[in-house]
């Protein structure tokens, strides 16, 4: 059973209308869209307006990818290497040893690619072959320079308090199509910053929580049957019989019936889930394109191919997190650690884009690539091997359904320190993703604690320039 407040929008509305004379501000409430959920929160629902994108694959690079070494070429940074600059930067404020800072050149070469000529560094040679499908945003910025807060912000639009994650909002908005699989799946080899909060439903109903898949032998908790199928079926039949008798005496209770049904779904999941994650039916060519060896069940290539198989089967939102809260892109010590991390994801991401395209799925699948913040184009010595956290500017990209392909939007200044024009805050990024899915970000709301909450809080503008 849902909390009564949810099932009862009409009476809320009428009580609001009744009090409108007293509180004109409440009229805005009528504009909000608290979605009707009924007894079946996962039922498929239509978005606010027709949209090409039906599902999202959200690629999250954890730790903070350096923009000036990957997607944001800065020749002036190379030219001015070693030059001292001043910046009132959150990461160097009052930090001993950081009284003076110097520009530090990128360590990888950039070159134009594709028809559009988008410049990408040698860290992403495979993604570079897909630039004609990508809308790159070089003017991303965020509100916090800590991993925890920035990661939470990129996932929930909130930089301190925990709030529902973007995948939960999406499932709340759209419901799910395939009942044998959860609507929102997160594939992550390790926990990232902010732990389970990055895929939590928070105040949204529990049906919208992300289901964690850990690459390996049991990707979803409790999905491996502990009894042989025939015996389990016997148990389920006996359970159904006792539940049916119970239900017959309580015919009006939808939640009891829903629970009876959920056992059938769970039974199905025991085969559907392993089937999704069983890549043996994929061709050698496909496996090879993702950089996978036959039988391999881990690695980002596996995550990407699993993601394709999940969205193919109707999962609404799949997030792939490349690594955990350590050993990630957080290259304070040495930028060279970007090399193996990029290598880990580059070929699989390109393979995923091409695979989706070849299957015609890129037309209704939105692919998002992002990180929590960029890395400083400077350090306290020009020879320092690493770069620090940089919330002022970073790069993210979108590809697929509804996205204007081969586009670059926004610019940073000549050294990549500040956004120079067309800044895109995390809230704007979220508004744009919701728009691509057919939602007005100001209207996809949920009433909690007397307030209508939304993913974009009270901010957010759709970046029209990246829309097809």
């Amino acid at each position: 059973m849902l909390p009564p407040i949810l099932t009862n929008r009409r009476s809320i509305l009428s009580s609001i209308v009744g009090s409108t004379l007293l509180f004109p501000a409440i009229v805005e409430q009528l504009l909000a869209d608290n979605r009707e959920l009924g007894t079946d929160p996962l039922m498929p629902r239509e978005p606010h307006f027709p949209a090409k994108a039906k599902r999202v694959i959200f690629l999250f690079m954890t730790g903070g990818v350096s923009h000036v070494d990957t997607f944001d070429p800065k020749p002036a940074l190379t030219r001015d290497h070693g030059k001292e600059i001043k910046a009132d930067h959150p990461e160097i404020k009052d930090r001993p040893g950081y009284e003076r800072i110097f520009l530090k050149k990128p360590q990888w070469e950039f070159a134009p690619h594709g028809q559009c000529g988008m410049e990408v560094s040698t860290l992403f040679p495979h993604v570079a072959t897909c630039v004609d499908d990508i809308a790159l945003i070089r003017s991303m910025h965020t509100s916090h320079s800590n991993h925890y807060n920035a990661t939470l912000g990129m996932h929930t639009g909130s930089f301190a308090q925990s709030r529902p994650s973007i995948g939960s909002w999406m499932t709340y908005g759209l419901g799910t199509i395939n009942r044998n699989l959860p609507g929102f799946i997160v594939i992550a080899p390790k926990q990232t910053y902010a732990g389970t909060q990055v895929y939590a439903n928070d105040f949204l109903p529990g049906a919208f929580q992300g289901t964690l898949v850990v690459p390996g032998s049991e990707p979803i908790r409790n999905v491996a049957p502990r009894t042989p199928a025939a015996k389990q079926r016997m148990e389920l039949e006996a359970l159904k019989a006792i539940n049916q008798e119970h239900l017959a005496a309580r015919p009006m209770d939808g939640s009891l019936a829903a629970r009876v049904q959920s056992f059938e779904t769970a039974f199905g999941m025991q085969t559907a889930v392993p089937e999704v994650f069983d890549l043996s039916g994929e061709s050698d060519a496909t496996l090879e394109s993702y950089g996978l060896k036959r039988g391999q069940t881990t690695g980002f290539g596996w995550q990407c191919l699993a993601a394709r198989r999940l969205v193919e089967r109707g999962v609404r939102f799949v997030e792939l997190i490349d690594t955990g809260s350590s050993g990630n892109w957080d290259a304070h010590g040495d930028m060279m650690t970007h090399e193996p991390l990029a290598k880990n994801v580059d070929q699989p991401i390109a393979a995923l884009l091409k695979d989706l395209k070849q299957r015609g799925m890129l037309d209704d699948t939105l692919v998002v690539w992002t990180t929590e913040f960029g890395r400083t184009p400077f350090n306290n010595t020009a020879e320092a091997k690493g770069r620090e956290h940089h919330p002022w500017a970073f790069s993210s990209w979108l590809a697929g359904a509804g996205v204007k392909p081969g586009t670059v939007y926004g610019e940073t200044d000549e050294h990549g320190v500040r956004v120079a024009n067309n800044g895109v805050h995390v809230h704007d990024f979220h508004a744009t993703i919701l728009h691509l899915m057919g939602f007005d970000h100001e209207k996809l709301t949920f009433r909690h604690s007397g307030r209508d909450y939304r993913l974009t809080d009270v901010e957010g503008n759709v970046v029209q320039a990246v829309l097809a």
Partner: protein, 971 residues
């Protein structure tokens, strides 16, 4: 005609001109000024848009002004910020471009006229007018309670509602249903089969009352109702900041809550103690004093935020003010951090008036990544007791410290003498720079053949790895072998250190040699700290001083990818910038040795580099000196033992009283006016008397005595019995909340509650004795049609067990439930904590105690509690959700804990003589009833057909009963 005295026409003329002037002013405003304001200013300064805090859509708006102060000084354009801004003198407004000169002049004229402005709005408190706020239903005083108010009075109110809507009440539930309902409601546990038998057999009129008294007296009552309280106060066992540190002592508050419910502590006292128990009982006897301190754990368990929690303390205050408002008085206050409440009568000034109480309070510090371990726990003993407990330990510790000092002096002496000897007795044997990614032999640049070096017992060979220039945080593989030329079987190698690397430093070597692992930056300093795992791998073990590993080994038979690919079974030296690290070998023999091996850059990366030196310290004293130096830090020393454990609480204490300043738009760096500490204005706005300390005592009085506080608590108790409150938004009694379905009943209940000494148990008795509580959960057709949400309570609301009730029931049926209270969690000892945002605290502790004692983390939800809609440890949870998702069904199919309980049941069943008894026993344990004949037959068949071992057959049968709806739902 009589003449008027001359003064009168003059007066009339003056009055008339004033009126005319006022009209003229309004005209001027309406015709000239308002259009300009609308055109140029409203976009950013009207309605909810108040850039810089400034509103220009009302007279009060510009009078109050924004962050820079009042916008207009009437009559004086040159002193008016608004005019300065449009003149582009300081601020430049509007930002889109300077206004034409004639428009600027119009606004100047208007200000000179005294800024006549008819846009006067009624006095407001936050989002309500003062009048609306004063008359808001929830703030009204409670009516006198009817002298004959009983359970029947409640039923009359409920029946009146039903009659009015033409809905018949459902029939009473049967006795079994009622006992299950009452037992779960009050204790969170199923009745035992014996309790069920006794109740069914008891036909006396007061049998139900006796059951209620038994349940209310059970210690399990406090666990159940205390857990409800923990839901609303968002209790957790971790702090919630970036590393999610454990709150080692928070359990005392949790257990105090359980205990307070068991004692039926008057609710007003319960409230007061949580806010000011330390002050209220400051001079009370010990047990009461410590209880008062523990109760303030309510404030201490507030969430911490960010990396350095002190920098985000304003968010912790918000978390408390938000919870204080919702939890005790049903008012949402948190949003007033940034602006006046948009709908309810709460202002930003109210918020900062409350914040002062918290800023005047010292909170236990849970620790955080940049500021280390917890501190400022509040001792539960008087200072004199602490002193007498500590005295013997202090004496032992003084001896210990003295001995340490003596050793340090000895070590300093040894180091000095080591330096003197080394300066004359050093032979550099080999040295070299290691190129990027290169591996070079130890014999590089050797000054003599390394085939035969004469060593004497006690002399030292030392291999040092040092950074080039200022670089060098680089992992360097060292593979170093020394062979005796006299005895071929005498070989020493760094590889012998790998298998028991962390055993000790100095580390015993083969054939009586000794290895030293040293920081060699300024003379030898033994590496002190050992770490069993690094970079998330247990294969990587290290010695260090501080956080960077200085010497480490990969103990695995496989290469391990940490920082870089580290080869199998290898030893690495990791110098830092300006920091050198060395391995020293002390010779056990007099004779000739050969030296071989290699050093390699294991972490190829641009812009760095290291070198090595191999030296022979040819003095037989050197080994001794090294030992003496090592002794200082490493030799066993008679430890004073751990300091006596002083019981402490995670709680608060008084700090210097301060008033808080408004954070403009919630930004703690933009401070506005100082707001004296006071109660929120709509509830009286009482100021503090002189010398009130933090004022928490007064705050606790104000809160506890509010009629709305009684209404809110009564509504919670009602909701937890009936599934929904008379007000269905239990944390929000404001304009955005629900209106009570039975307003007079709510008021009467609240008044009864106050009159009966705020006894919560008296509310249970009152409510559970109503006919409404005793009804069947079957809705009749009229109810289904006219009142689908059952607001009028024609029937009981069926509910699913909560996560805790479910798990406790599984353990109860399997007879594994441990009903004794739990205390602290098995957290790792504080001294061992190295939690960072990259490697935060993360644990799940198994227990067979009641689920209310499960360790609850803020950053990582407990997997079971998250799956079954447990409370949110980050926000007040006034109503549990009850979602149905297939991953829950997977739990009942495959979860190991679930299977274990079923197996336990099966084992017990198999002790019964025959299948029929077993099935009867299974039904009685899990559903507290006998099976029907058809259930009996079906289950006998099932067990026969299942066709596995008896344990498995009965395990499967138990799983069916433990997974069925009848088990999981309460009628």
């Amino acid at each position: 005609m009589q003449r008027f005295p001359p003064a009168i026409p003059l007066m009339l003329w003056i009055l008339g001109s004033m009126v005319a002037y006022a009209d003229e002013g309004t005209d001027f405003f309406e015709s000239k000024v308002r259009p300009l304001l609308v055109k140029h200013c409203y976009e950013c300064h009207s309605g909810e848009k108040t850039k810089g805090g400034l509103s220009l859509d009302s007279k009060t708006g510009w009078e109050k002004g924004g962050e820079s102060g009042s916008a207009i000084t009437t009559g004086e354009p040159d002193k008016s910020l608004l005019i300065a801004a449009i003149r582009y003198q300081d601020l430049e407004m509007p930002p889109s471009g300077k206004l034409p000169e004639e428009e600027i002049q119009l606004l100047e004229t208007w200000v000179r006229m005294g800024a006549p402005d008819p846009r006067i709005t009624p006095a407001k408190i936050g989002g309500m007018t003062a009048e609306q706020a004063r008359s808001w239903w929830a703030f009204q005083p409670l009516p006198p309670v009817a002298s004959d108010f009983t359970s029947n009075s409640i039923d009359r109110a409920i029946d009146a509602g039903l009659n009015e809507h033409g809905i018949p009440a459902s029939s009473p539930a049967d006795k079994r249903t009622w006992l299950r309902r009452a037992t779960y409601d009050l204790t969170g546990l199923p009745p035992t089969p014996e309790e069920m038998d006794a109740f069914l057999a008891d036909s006396s009129t007061d049998s139900a009352n006796r059951v209620l008294e038994r349940l209310l007296a059970s210690p399990q009552y406090g666990v159940q109702w205390g857990r409800h309280w923990l839901d609303v106060v968002r209790y957790a066992d971790t702090a919630g900041e970036n590393t999610d540190r454990p709150l080692v002592h928070a359990w005392r508050y949790r257990n105090w809550v359980f205990d307070a419910f068991n004692r039926d502590m008057p609710y007003n006292q319960f409230v007061q103690m949580q806010i000011a128990g330390d002050i209220l009982f400051a001079n009370a006897p010990d047990t009461q004093r410590s209880e008062g301190i523990i109760a303030t754990g309510y404030l201490a368990i507030a969430r911490r935020f960010g990396h350095d929690i002190d920098k985000d303390i304003h968010l912790t205050y918000e978390d408390i003010i938000d919870n204080l408002g919702k939890n005790f008085v049903g008012i949402t206050t948190g949003c007033a951090r940034c602006h006046d409440h948009k709908y309810d009568p709460v202002t930003a000034d109210d918020y900062y008036g409350l914040m002062g109480f918290l800023a005047s309070t010292k909170f236990s510090f849970p620790g955080c990544e940049p500021k280390g371990q917890p501190k400022d726990m509040v001792p539960l003993l008087a200072p004199t007791e602490v002193e007498s407990l500590m005295q013997p330990w202090k004496e032992r510790n003084a001896i210990f410290e003295a001995e340490k000092k003596k050793r340090q002096e000895a070590a300093d002496l040894a180091r000095k003498s080591w330096k003197e000897q080394v300066s004359t007795a050093t032979h550099l044997l080999a040295h070299g720079k290691i190129a990027e990614g290169a591996s070079i032999p130890i014999a590089t640049n050797s000054t003599q053949s390394l085939e035969s070096i004469a060593v004497r017992k006690g002399e030292v060979l030392q291999l040092t790895v040092l950074p080039n220039d200022n670089h060098g945080a680089d992992s360097t593989l060292v593979d170093w072998t020394i062979r005796s030329q006299n005895a071929p079987d005498q070989v020493w190698s760094t590889s012998e250190l790998i298998s028991d690397f962390l055993q000790s430093n100095p580390h015993p070597g083969a054939h009586g040699a000794t290895w030293f692992l040293l920081d060699a930056t300024d003379g030898p300093t033994p590496l002190l700290e050992k770490r069993k795992s690094n970079g998330g791998s247990e294969a990587i073990q290290s010695w260090s001083i501080g956080s960077e590993p200085s010497i480490f080994v990969n103990t695995s038979e496989l290469p391990t990818n940490v920082w870089t690919s580290l080869s199998a079974r290898s030893l690495f030296v990791h110098p830092g910038p300006n920091r050198t690290v060395a391995i020293a070998w002390t010779s056990p023999i007099d004779g000739m040795v050969s030296i071989e091996g290699r050093v390699a850059d294991a972490h190829p990366a641009a812009l760095d580099g290291v070198s090595f030196r191999l030296e022979h310290f040819a003095s037989t004293d050197i080994g001794e000196k090294l030992l003496a130096i090592a002794d200082e830090k490493l030799a066993p020393l008679q430890s004073p033992g751990p300091a006596p454990e002083i019981p402490v609480a995670y709680a608060v204490a008084e700090a210097s009283p301060v008033h808080s300043k408004v954070h403009l738009r919630g930004d703690p760096e933009k401070l506005g006016a100082e707001i004296p500490r006071r109660w929120i204005s709509v509830l009286g706005g009482d100021p503090l008397p002189e010398n009130a300390g933090s004022g928490r005592k007064q705050l606790s009085d104000w809160i506890a005595s509010e009629p709305i506080a009684a209404r809110v608590m009564v509504n919670r108790v009602w909701q937890l019995h009936f599934g929904q409150g008379l007000v269905r938004t239990p944390n929000d009694f404001g304009s955005r909340g629900d209106r009570p379905s039975h307003p007079e009943l709510l008021d009467q209940l609240a008044a009864y509650f106050v009159q009966h000494g705020y006894s919560i148990k008296s509310l249970h008795r009152l409510i559970m004795n109503t006919a409404a509580y005793q009804r069947s959960s079957e809705a009749n057709e009229e109810a289904a049609r006219h009142d689908p949400e059952n607001r009028f309570l024609s029937h009981f609301n069926r509910r699913r067990l909560t996560a805790e009730e479910m798990r406790d029931s599984l353990l109860a049926v399997s007879q594994q439930l441990d009903l004794t209270p739990s205390q602290s969690h098995p957290f790792p000892p504080e001294a061992s904590w190295t939690f960072t945002q990259h490697d935060p605290f993360n644990a799940v502790y198994d227990t067979n105690k009641r689920s209310a004692y499960l360790m609850v983390q803020r950053q990582r939800r407990h997997p079971f509690l998250a799956l079954f809609d447990g409370a949110d440890p980050n926000a007040s949870t006034p109503v549990r959700q009850s979602t149905t998702v297939p991953t829950q069904a997977l739990y009942f199919l495959n979860d190991p804990f679930f299977h274990t309980q079923a197996t336990q049941v099966a084992t017990a069943l198999l002790k019964q003589p025959d299948d029929e008894t077993r099935i009867r026993s299974l039904f009685r344990r899990s559903l507290q009833r006998d099976p029907t004949p058809s259930e009996q037959t079906r289950l006998v068949d099932f067990v026969k057909l299942y066709g596995a071992s008896p344990e498995e057959n009965w395990g499967a049968a138990a799983r069916i009963l433990l997974a069925c709806n009848e088990f999981l739902y309460l009628d």
